[in-house]
Symmetry: C2
Amino acid sequence: MLKQKITLKHIAKELDVSISTVSKALKNSEEISRDTKEKIQAFAKLYNYKPNNIAISLKNKRTKNIGVIIPDIVHHFFTTVIRGIENYANAKGYNVIVCLSDESFDKEVINMEMLANGSIDGFIMSLSAGTEKKKDFNHLKEVTEQGIPMVLFDRVTSEINCDKVLIDDIQGAYVATKKLLDEGRRKIALLTTEDFFSVSMNRNKGYRKALKDFGLEVNPDLVLKLPFMDIDEAKIEEFLNQIEPDAILSVNEIFGIYGMRVVQRKGLNVPKDISIIGFTDGLLAKHANPSITSVAQHGELMGETAAKMLIEKVESENEEETYRTEILQPTLIERESTLNQV
Amino acid sequence: MLKQKITLKHIAKELDVSISTVSKALKNSEEISRDTKEKIQAFAKLYNYKPNNIAISLKNKRTKNIGVIIPDIVHHFFTTVIRGIENYANAKGYNVIVCLSDESFDKEVINMEMLANGSIDGFIMSLSAGTEKKKDFNHLKEVTEQGIPMVLFDRVTSEINCDKVLIDDIQGAYVATKKLLDEGRRKIALLTTEDFFSVSMNRNKGYRKALKDFGLEVNPDLVLKLPFMDIDEAKIEEFLNQIEPDAILSVNEIFGIYGMRVVQRKGLNVPKDISIIGFTDGLLAKHANPSITSVAQHGELMGETAAKMLIEKVESENEEETYRTEILQPTLIERESTLNQV
DNA sequence: TTGTACGCGTTATCAC
DNA sequence: GTGATAACGCGTACAA
């Protein structure tokens, strides 16, 4: 069946004019007579002519595609970022090619190489856990040195010179911890991941800073470092039983949820007996019972910002090598898991 | 800085041979002498030559890109489908271009047109709510008539001839309802959406069929049709207060969660006093407290299946117009919100 | 006003 | 063994 896509050539032959005449006529060029233009445009419309994107890409050396490489898509935060990127990019006429690194260094490299050979005009990415662990950024370096614009978001590295979008994780944790302190909580447990994650480290910093500013000692026993992506409820339970905190701060949604499960099972009332705040304001926090007060990371805004920065770079003629780092401010979304301050 | 990507032409000039010699040498052609090949290959490797995807696409009329159009990405089910598509497609050397219709007919059309002009080799998509409501499938028709392969999944239409992947929603609802009946529940409430969604309709069918097969009357008062995507907790509460069911079946995750909230607030114990089963086995159901028994839709498998069907069509030479509909069987994941049958 | 020629980067065919 | 040429579809500088 394959009703061959119609090209300029087809139109030209059919109407017995040259290809360039057709091309110009369809661009409404002044060079072409009204008659010819009308004839050609009518024909093109009839046969639903649309220029071939690939040919245009080859000619312009612009694909109007953005490559996005993220560690995981089954993750509310990344999902909102993609939505933001899509929003902005589509409005500007760009398509979004999504690749998943699956938290693996190797996959990240493969995906970058796949896309870097002309498929995209620029990258937006967040480092995989594997890459953060390995601290090998050569694939990023190669790409940026080739002159392909890149924007890193959330999980970034200082070793690469490029635009970046971050949220102020230190500040987010600071505000959250402060909120708990203001409620009168003094024994605030921190549920976090291993240290190689830049974001976890920063959240830890903000937590400690808030305690110090408040005049409290930082007690390392109150901090539980869990392996990434691995919900070990028993470990959380053991930890919480042992230290019996009056508040929990979690660097993600899921640890917070499970922290809440554990204390609820012990018969504690959230938030009367214990307050809980989580990071990453996602569906779990929002729809939990009680709903969990969270530090919102504004993923959608982050995506839009990243897309904006990238497209500006892509479309800018001048080759000045100046890179910006945009820092978004997190917001504390107060819900039912903390005490209402009137 | 823009260290221009190196091309065959550059290599040819540098090594003082013809472009075609370079091309052949890099393909390890037998035609070229060992010496020349080695020289050229070494040079190419040194300068990290990679063929330009766009040029190859133009030549081959194959982009190695798959276009995926889904209604929403902030939705666990679609997210797992994408993961499945990515898995399979990447392994086959394809990139995935994701576009969001945002449940809007217009956006769906625009995205399709953007991609249909050469950017992709085929489509995988799930209809937007807008399209299902409007019942206008001309954009799909045009694309398939152009000979672009397409696979529809989950939200499909019988008006378009193409490959399809579905789960057996009737069966899923049947099994879930049966499970509740087997527990001894007799007053099973159904929380569903408006009728124009093919999936909701089918789940409703399965629910009714199970009741009938069990010899029970279907009582329309036990069915609450809520507007799509709009969580009206008050309405759910009013409904549940009025009918006082001993079980709830929800056609999605979110209604199930809120149903549970409402009955828990009334002081009922889940699952002792009331059982709950939801559709779409996502994070909310899994991490709820208690965790919610769910009908798993196997999104990842669905994505893989769709990608497999599409790529087969894309790569098949013969133009036979034969379309398959693959029906996946749902699975009931038993959790804490239903009674344990020993 | 229209058409010719060339280039984007690659590959395949055919001539030398 | 190597190279010239055409072609994929488009746009544009230049010629007619």
